[in-house]
């Protein structure tokens, strides 16, 4: 253990150099720095389309697919039509509508990859939550989607239509077993504010691939929190488009990957309108053999997006040495007229100095570790603002920790 601290610190210094100098007191060690791109590796123009065949069948060599174990998503990529559904349970505050709408009638952000296009094409209809204009909700809208087995692929489309000047919190929970590919279209109208909390608390056999595609109107606000805890493989791609100036988006996420789990979060914030702000904070903890998290943070600032203010942060905490966290921040800037742009990424082993400090006050090692990991996640979880959900998520994280330190 003695030498591991020294090693850790040496690695930390290297890591800090590699990631542009994040220095805020927490120890970042064991870093696999984000894979540097060679000029030949620059991403081709991003395709957005409803047409499945606009996206080639993935081989695993593509930038979008290179971290994803394709064998585990193959049943989805096969694209066979299916009528299977998840069970839907909902809590709807007064004034909020939940309706099923036939496919094709909705103007939603376009799919970002082949699976998203397949989900849109195969889902047939969409489950639409409508918060009407200027309605301010004081209770959350809750949608609970649960799966009953991994036999048939489920294609899904959920639409959150938050009309102008309204204010809502939507909790989208996923539990049970499924092979589920989905589009979640998030439409935040002019001057509206949405807090979205999406929870992946699946059983261990679930494969879940989704494109959460948000479009913010003028002066709209979105605070999105993705919580990925359960499932065999979860791959969430979150894209944000700005339909007008003044948009403000915060994308937060926590993942806790156990042995064998693959939890992947890919973000694309497309700043195409002026004076918009984006903040990204994603944290993951990993434990066990073959535990794998992937975080891709793409931020695009287009020529028209003057006055953009963006910052993204990814933190990964390796609780056991054999876990693996990939972290790739990527900022493309096409205008010099911005307010600020930056990113930080650090992947570290457990901090022995924190552990020593807590233990030197009599706190047993396991309790001390729990306190540190809870603290690591607390920043994101405690900002959700739905106390019952915060408590439940922390309890689930406690369970995971219980397994970690058992």
């Amino acid at each position: 253990m003695a030498s591991s601290i020294a090693d850790a610190l040496t690695t930390e210094r290297a890591a800090l150099k590699d990631t542009g100098g994040v220095m805020d007191g927490s120890v970042a060690v064991g870093v696999k720095p984000s894979t540097p791109r060679s000029p030949a590796d620059v991403r081709p123009e991003r395709v957005r389309s409803r047409d499945v065949d606009a996206f080639p069948v993935p081989t695993g060599r593509e930038e979008e697919w290179r971290f994803t174990p394709l064998d585990r998503v193959q049943p989805l990529l096969d694209g066979a039509p299916s009528d299977a559904h998840l069970t839907v349970d909902s809590e709807l505050p007064a004034g909020v509508e939940l309706v099923e709408v036939a496919a094709g009638e909705l103007d939603v952000p376009l799919p970002i990859d082949r699976l998203a296009a397949l989900a849109l094409a195969r889902s047939g209809s969409a489950l639409v939550v409508r918060v009407p204009k200027a309605l301010e909700l004081d209770a959350p809208v809750v949608l609970r989607l649960s799966g009953e087995g991994t036999g048939e692929v489920v294609w899904g489309h959920v639409v959150l239509d938050i009309a102008e000047q309204s204010r809502a919190t939507v909790v989208l929970e996923h539990t049970g077993s499924a092979r589920y590919a989905a589009c979640v279209s998030v439409l935040v109208g002019d001057g509206a504010a949405l807090q979205l909390v999406q929870v992946q608390d699946w059983a261990g056999d679930t494969v879940h691939v989704a494109h959460v595609a948000s479009r913010l109107g003028r002066d709209a606000k979105l605070l999105s929190t993705q919580v990925s805890l359960g499932g065999d493989l979860v791959r969430i791609t979150e894209s944000v488009d700005f339909a007008g100036p003044g948009g403000d988006v915060e994308l937060r996420g926590v993942s806790f990957a156990d042995g064998g789990q693959h939890l992947e979060h890919r973000l694309l914030v497309d700043h195409s309108a002026p004076h918009c702000r984006s903040r990204v904070t994603y944290k993951s903890a990993l434990q066990g053999d073959q535990a794998h998290t992937v975080w891709i943070g793409d931020v695009l600032i287009r020529a028209a997006a003057e006055g953009t203010d963006t910052y993204e942060l990814n933190r990964n905490l390796l609780l056991t040495p054999e876990a693996r966290a990939d972290s790739v921040p990527n900022l493309e800037i096409e205008t010099g007229e911005i307010a600020g742009a930056g990113h930080a990424s650090a992947t570290g082993r457990f901090d022995d100095e924190q552990l020593f400090y807590l233990m030197a006050r009599g706190i047993p090692a396991d309790d001390a570790r729990r306190m540190v990991v809870r603290g690591f996640f607390a920043e994101v979880i405690e900002s959700i603002g739905v106390p019952a959900l915060e408590q439940r998520l922390m309890a689930t994280i406690e369970d995971e920790l219980g397994r970690a330190f058992a």
Partner: protein, 274 residues
């Protein structure tokens, strides 16, 4: 009455892949109610003594014994040592993001007292201790040591000392980096604990400044990893006047002119002088 006995303690660290001996045979006995000052030049091993007794994993005890009331401290884990009654006020307290001071203090008190203190009583107790140390109540909701000034960190260490009431407290350069006001507040905190008569205090310091506020019963001069001379409070005055030259030490390094070795635990971005 509690007693900490350190006998012929040898401690090594790993440096450049090879063990390097820092403590070369320390003998020291501290009883509850006594205050001992350990003074010495940079690199003499003062902090190493503190961290080795507390059980920091960076330090390997190669021989010697440490007992608290007869119990073998060296076989205890870090938390067991703390619960047995040892306390280390650190020179560079560690930041623990996301863990609030109040949560941390209550967890520590729960561990030390073997049961959770009753919430209402505890809140009062914590608040009163914070008032005595002239700390803003809002402090309790901040993350442990995160963004604290040097003075705030040291007050927070002494706050823990007052709340946890150890049998033996080792204060590692608690005076370093404090302005006169903070030094007074911190010293008053230490003196309150001393007045209880149940706690033995080891003050590790480079300067005599803090000894104007906290009167030691004994002063030990620490040189090259062991105690070179022991005496009463007057020994501190002598050191103030003449420095460590008579022990073959200059301020900057050891007798051979080598630079002082950092022997404290290495914290992020900080090389801890001993």
């Amino acid at each position: 009455m509690s007693v900490l006995e350190i006998h012929d303690l040898h401690v090594s660290i790993e440096a450049d892949g090879a063990p390097k001996e820092i403590l070369t045979g320390v003998d020291l006995t501290i009883r509850a109610g006594e205050t001992h000052a350990i003074m010495g030049p940079n690199g003499s091993g003062k902090s190493t003594l503190a961290y080795a007794v507390a059980g920091h994993p960076r330090y390997t005890v190669t021989s010697g014994t440490v007992t608290l009331d007869g119990a073998d401290v060296l076989t205890m884990t870090v938390d067991e040592r703390a619960r047995a009654g040892l306390f280390l006020a650190m020179q560079y307290p560690v930041e623990v993001p996301g863990v609030s001071v109040s949560n941390f203090l209550r967890s520590a008190a729960t561990a030390m007292r073997a049961e959770a203190p009753k919430l209402r009583l505890w809140v009062k107790e914590q608040k009163a201790a914070m008032v005595r140390l002239e700390m803003d109540p809002a402090f309790a909701e901040r993350s442990v040591n995160e963004g604290f000034s040097g003075g705030e960190k040291k007050r927070h260490e002494i706050l823990q000392l007052e709340l946890l009431q150890p049998k033996i407290a080792i204060l590692d350069e608690t005076d370093s980096g404090l302005d006169v006001d903070a030094l007074r507040v911190v010293s008053e905190g230490v003196n309150r604990v001393r007045e209880g008569g149940e706690t033995g205090v080891v003050l590790i310091t480079h300067y005599t400044r803090i000894l104007k506020y906290i009167k030691p019963d004994a002063v030990h001069v620490f040189v090259k990893g062991r105690i070179a001379e022991s005496g009463g409070a007057e020994l501190a005055d002598e050191l103030e006047a003449h420095g460590y030259a008579k022990y073959g030490e200059s301020e900057a390094g050891d007798a051979a002119g080598r630079p002082a070795l950092p022997t404290g635990p290495v914290l992020p971005g900080v090389l801890a002088p001993s």
